[in-house]
Symmetry: C2
Subunit: 191 residues, 2 copies
């Protein structure tokens, strides 16, 4: 029975992480994608900063939007399969879920790192290369982008933890092969 | 005996990946850390570009140097423990190795993404933000940085695969709990 309780805890952790990932990714995508600020100079000349000016921010919007959609679908799958008994297809499904989760974690992290690098340049500039800071001029734009990046940090953490839970779910099916192949024929699977 | 052969294949894959990671990381760190170019303007005014001008490149040097040192130590551990019989400490060690490998994969990937973002700005510029491209002026500097980044891409791939092998090594120790706890008491461990 202790195994069943542990099973339920793992399932609950997975579902919670998918929900957190979905909410934070959607928030990050929304904050960055709606980020724009127009400045007027000399009462006639206008200049607009949008997230499209930085390729890294565009990448972040796509990555977090994909993460939100994917984790919504996966959360639905979690709810549907929670009550089902384990089947012979458990191992293939676990592999598929783990591969997607790990790839998602890497993509979200890469997008976050690139966006962070771009925002550090935007905030502080890189005077040696004549790249000037722009946050003094576009304060509101930078603050909203900062909020989006903070949400993306939370999403990346949730994605990394989720990849970890999925790895646990797939590789434990390979253990105990020496004790009679219980896991091999699906006995260790509890999807 | 099939299990023993598979064991040996996993060990060999792990050792090869650690060796590849060590070589590529060291190469990336060396290429980026020695990257500098001096330009002379109007036959007297000199301007020097070094990797220190970009914080992302400094981060990449530290991350890849750490990856090279870590994978050298881990490769040595692989060689030392290869011939030893499994012990009760196998599970703790596998956890420790997996955590470090996964963290390393994330750090190397994050450093690579940030460096790639910085190098895309250096190569193409971001005219909307008045960040000018610098590779027209510092061609040799950019080519060497490109070589370093290419090595870092290989290192990041090796680190991701290694995290995957380590995940397999740790989580299979948790399988087959329903078949008598063979894995729980170390029976499933084959370190």
């Amino acid at each position: 029975m202790a195994v069943a309780v542990a099973e339920r805890k793992v399932k609950l952790a997975e579902l919670s992480l998918r929900a957190i990932l979905c909410v934070l990714s959607a928030l990050a995508a929304a904050l960055v994608a709606t980020d724009a600020q127009t400045k007027t100079f000399f009462s006639s000349y206008q200049k607009k900063a949008t997230f499209r000016d930085m390729k890294a921010m565009v990448f972040l919007v796509f990555a977090t939007a994909a993460a939100a959609a994917y984790s919504l679908l996966q959360a639905a799958r979690c709810c549907v399969t929670a009550a089902r008994p384990p089947t012979a297809r458990s191992r293939a499904l676990a592999w598929c879920v783990f591969s997607c989760d790990q790839a998602l974690a890497y993509v979200v992290l890469a997008a976050l790192a690139a966006a962070l690098q771009a925002s550090v340049i935007a905030k502080r500039g890189q005077p040696e290369l004549q790249w000037m800071e722009i946050c003094g001029m576009y304060g509101a734009f930078c603050r909203q982008a900062g909020g989006g990046i903070a949400s993306a940090v939370g999403a990346a953490l949730a994605a990394a933890l989720l990849a970890f839970v999925s790895a646990f779910n797939v590789f434990r099916l390979y253990g105990g092969d020496k004790s009679g192949g219980a896991a091999r024929n699906g006995g260790g699977a509890t999807w």
